[in-house]
Symmetry: C2
Subunit: 567 residues, 2 copies
């Protein structure tokens, strides 16, 4: 298995090495106390022992805390003695030197790894000031890192007045590094993802944020349900609008849901590649700059290429087919696709990441459907297995149910789909395309009848497919083509391609394409071409529909639509 390990990240080993290197160490007797040792014997369950150890560690730790607080208060008159414990790290600042000395050799611990088991350890953390709140002479700072949060306690009695004031005036979203002791809070925490708290001894600021931000990450992370509740409670919370989010994407990306979505996106690609490489596919890269237009469509971005008219590829279609003509047999590509369409829908972008596949076929286009029918359930299963925390983070802000799919992907012919719609009283053209509404309706009917939200429709009418689609052998009104749907929305389009150059040229002409502009493409088939086909999907759309989100802009890192070209 390929190592995935977002959890075993750069900071891996951090906890263990820091707890070994620098945390206070307790003997077993110190930890549990003699009276407990006596009553426990060797039969105590592992879990119970762990729990008891934690409780007693906590008791012991509280005692240590009290002692330390007393001893440090005696020197509080000399506030300068704490001056090396905090400050702004800049290249030549004293705080920069102090920070270096303090953290040298100490690994950072991931906030997500701050758990009860390491209570008593000293840890170094890096993250952002998510929020803070002063209660009496204690400052509670919520530190956030990669979407996880932990409560950090800064006590004046422990760190001195100057350091408390330094921390207090750090603006939200500033990047800080701190050293502190992991301890158990007096009561369960509701505002943080982690159930331990950190008693801070040192804190340095690596980068200050502006005090007034265009959006607050806490607001951007709020679910619709929480907003509605706040309105009912008479204390309406802020709702961050989509454009505000996208205009300030580096801030918006910091919410737990967004942190999770782009990890899920990465894992969709990992599973996509893993499956295809195991089936003998080769990953290729086709050019995005080309003469002519990829598929004869009008919605292309045009540009001047050193004096030649050029355009951006609307799909890798022509080149992935040429790769097949170049004997590459089975290829795939993950790369940008450009569409200059004026679509302001929830599911269109002007630039998206295409997941494209092309393969030789032996006898029938069903071989391509076999592959799709195995590939996508593989991806869905891997995401459930590998991203449970991420799915949970998305759900907290955008609740959704897991996709229902069958072990053997359902296949219906287009005609069968039309029949189902007709029987349900829908008016549909049997040789036309399905509109978005009919697709949604059919999705409902299929879910009711077959209990799946993932299925294929094949043998589409030739008239609604691109010129290069192979007509059915028995009826040229239909074609060797298919679409795949998730939750009632089209996600994949695929087909067998025409590999006979004469037929290809004829079909191009019938579709009004200037054959000269695609002559190198058609020529590729004159040099001998095996029967082949393939399909394409959009990565952003896969993630959107997997998580049942309402807008594709949520799953594009920096989305491009007809109005949006920045950031």
């Amino acid at each position: 298995m390929m190592a995935i390990g977002f959890k075993s990240s750069c900071r891996q080993g951090g906890i263990m090495s820091s707890s070994n290197d620098s945390c206070q160490k307790f003997t077993r007797e110190e930890m549990v106390g003699p009276e407990v040792l006596e009553e426990s014997g060797e039969k105590m369950s592992k879990k119970a022992a762990k729990k008891r150890a934690a409780t007693l560690k906590k008791r012991l730790y509280r005692k240590k805390e009290r002692e330390e607080a007393t001893s440090s208060s005696s020197s509080l008159t000399e506030d300068e003695s704490f001056s090396s414990n905090y400050g702004d790290v800049t290249p030549k600042s004293a705080a920069g030197r102090s920070w270096r000395e303090a953290v040298e050799g100490k690994e950072l611990t991931d906030v997500s790894n701050l758990v009860e088991e390491i209570v008593g350890s000293e840890v170094s953390l890096r993250g952002r000031v998510h929020n803070h709140r002063l209660v009496a002479k204690i400052l509670f700072v919520i530190l956030r890192e990669s979407g996880f949060t932990v409560q950090c306690v800064v006590e004046e009695a422990r760190v001195g007045t100057s350091m408390l004031n330094f921390v207090k005036q750090l603006s939200h979203e500033s990047v800080v590094e701190l050293i502190g002791l992991v301890s158990l809070p007096k009561k369960p925490l509701t505002a943080t993802s982690q159930q331990v708290e950190i008693h801070v001894t040192k804190m340095y600021c690596l980068s200050r944020s502006l005090p007034n931000l265009p959006l607050a990450v806490v607001d951007a992370a709020r679910s619709e349900a929480d907003i509605e509740k706040s309105v009912k409670d008479g204390k309406p919370a802020a709702r961050v609008l989509q454009d505000t989010r996208l205009n300030n994407r580096p801030l918006d990306l910091r919410t737990p849901a967004n942190q999770a979505l782009f990890r899920i996106q990465c894992h969709v690609q990992i599973a996509f590649r893993e499956f295809l490489l195991s089936k003998g596919f080769l990953e290729i890269h086709t050019p995005k700059l080309m003469a002519g237009s990829s598929e004869g469509g009008s919605a292309v971005f045009r540009l001047d290429y050193k004096g030649q008219p050029a355009c951006l590829a609307q799909s890798p279609q022509l080149h992935k087919q040429m790769a097949i003509c170049g004997d590459m047999r089975r290829v795939f590509e993950v790369g940008p696709v450009f569409r200059a369409e004026d679509s302001f829908t929830h599911r269109h972008l002007c630039e998206f990441v295409g997941l494209d596949v092309e393969m030789e076929i032996r006898m029938h286009y069903s071989e391509i459907m076999d592959l799709v029918g195995d590939l996508f359930p593989f991806i869905f299963t891997k995401i459930e297995e590998r991203c449970p925390k991420e799915l949970e983070s998305v759900r907290r802000q955008y609740p959704f149910h897991s996709l229902k799919f069958l072990p053997q992907t359902l296949r219906l012919t287009f005609a069968e789909g039309i029949q189902m719609l007709k029987e349900a009283g829908e008016e549909v053209d049997p040789l036309g395309d399905l509109n978005t509404e009919s697709e949604k309706k059919l999705g409902q009917l299929v879910l009711e009848k077959y209990k799946t939200e993932f299925y294929m429709l094949h043998r589409y009418p030739s008239a609604v497919r691109p010129f290069y689609t192979m007509p059915c052998e028995d009826d040229s009104n239909y074609s060797n083509s298919f679409d795949v749907f998730i939750r009632g929305e089209e996600i994949i389009s695929g087909a067998q391609r025409i590999h006979d150059p004469e037929l290809l040229e004829k079909r191009a002409r019938e579709c009004g394409i200037d054959v000269k502009t695609i002559s190198t493409y058609i020529d590729a088939f004159r040099y001998g071409a095996p029967p082949h086909g393939g399909f394409g999907a959009g990565l952003e759309r896969v993630v959107m529909l997997l998580c049942a989100l309402n807008n594709i802009r949520k799953t594009s890192l920096f989305p491009r639509d007809p109005k949006r070209l920045a950031p």
Copy 2:
């Protein structure tokens, strides 16, 4: 481990299942003969037994051949009895039906899997007519598939005159499917990659190529040494020029060296991802369409984006940094990069595949160099391990020695590099950049002194690095930056970036950049930014230098340079 398996491709299991399903089966006695069984006993080594079995199988097979030839010659008067054994497969042709019936349920065998161990089996093969030659009434057809070749024997006595004539007039590069018996040739074969031959019983043509091709694959596959030898021998062989190759790339891609190069390229990416994912990196996709220019350079492709001036990203630099500001911590991207430079060198393209990395750093830019120093040797090692056949295929046409690199990547400061050049009598500006010639020279000096062709040069003069490069803390004339070299050519450029917005703005202005055009980029740092850095490499250049090729166009599937926009 991730499954790589180009070998265990779509046709996997083909050999075993076809030999089980449909080949002539021999009992052990039939195969070895009673007298041999007697003399062999149970002590014969496995290898010897195998060899003997093959020899005897061959003997038996020849006998069967003779019998079959005799029996078929008796019915040769009725040539029609063979008519279902060959023909052009078109949707409604009789040959199409015959082909379907003949191959139904029979897996294809990869040509590379045709080895002595399966002599006697019946196999189905798909490939191209690479060459043919008629000797008396026997036609020798070389079948090629994925760069591997096998000799196929079509005997008139076995298949009839009409089928022989059908096969004889198939043009080179036509795609055929055939059924035949694997046998041992009478003498070793020099013209094919495989050392068995196929006695053909059925052959169907799936796609005919034009009889006159713009280039012959045999010519395109010839090494320079072979061409020189042919000249010396007074029979000069054709040399296919680069432009002819690139104009007809689907044909050119079929040579064994090209088949291998794009597998190696795929494996470079696999190893790149594998390493980074294991270190907690996240794969992202940044937009290629953007307002302004990526790095303030002049060599950008400009276009109209729905009425707004736009350009194609010259690198994912700004967006990968914004991803870091969005708390993604460690990211990488594999995607197209566009440079409108007028470079006609052997190492520049107008569009290439960027391998880009960006990461938070803890204390020092050396952390980025640590990563690079481990990542690339990991890639080199994996390619050696996973692509031995591919490296061999490349070497046969373009001989090269394996890259020399150290287990611990060598690091020199720019000043040390300058010193080495000076000592060797080169004149170089200590605060300027190295030109290509000086880089080559330094590569030689490093190889002589340190025995490595892979090393890093760091602490470059600030004046020769982009505006966003972090200056050195101790001397702002130098920067926290590095370049990496393979065989004396620059392959990677990396640095720590400025994360302080004020310093960034100041440096942008000093470099003559209109700060307004990059305001969303600079703003990202005003919302708190961790120290970070990264690097970029070009996939095509990595493969070119790994295989010591002389031109980057060889490692781009469909290269784009100032004159080339097609195919």
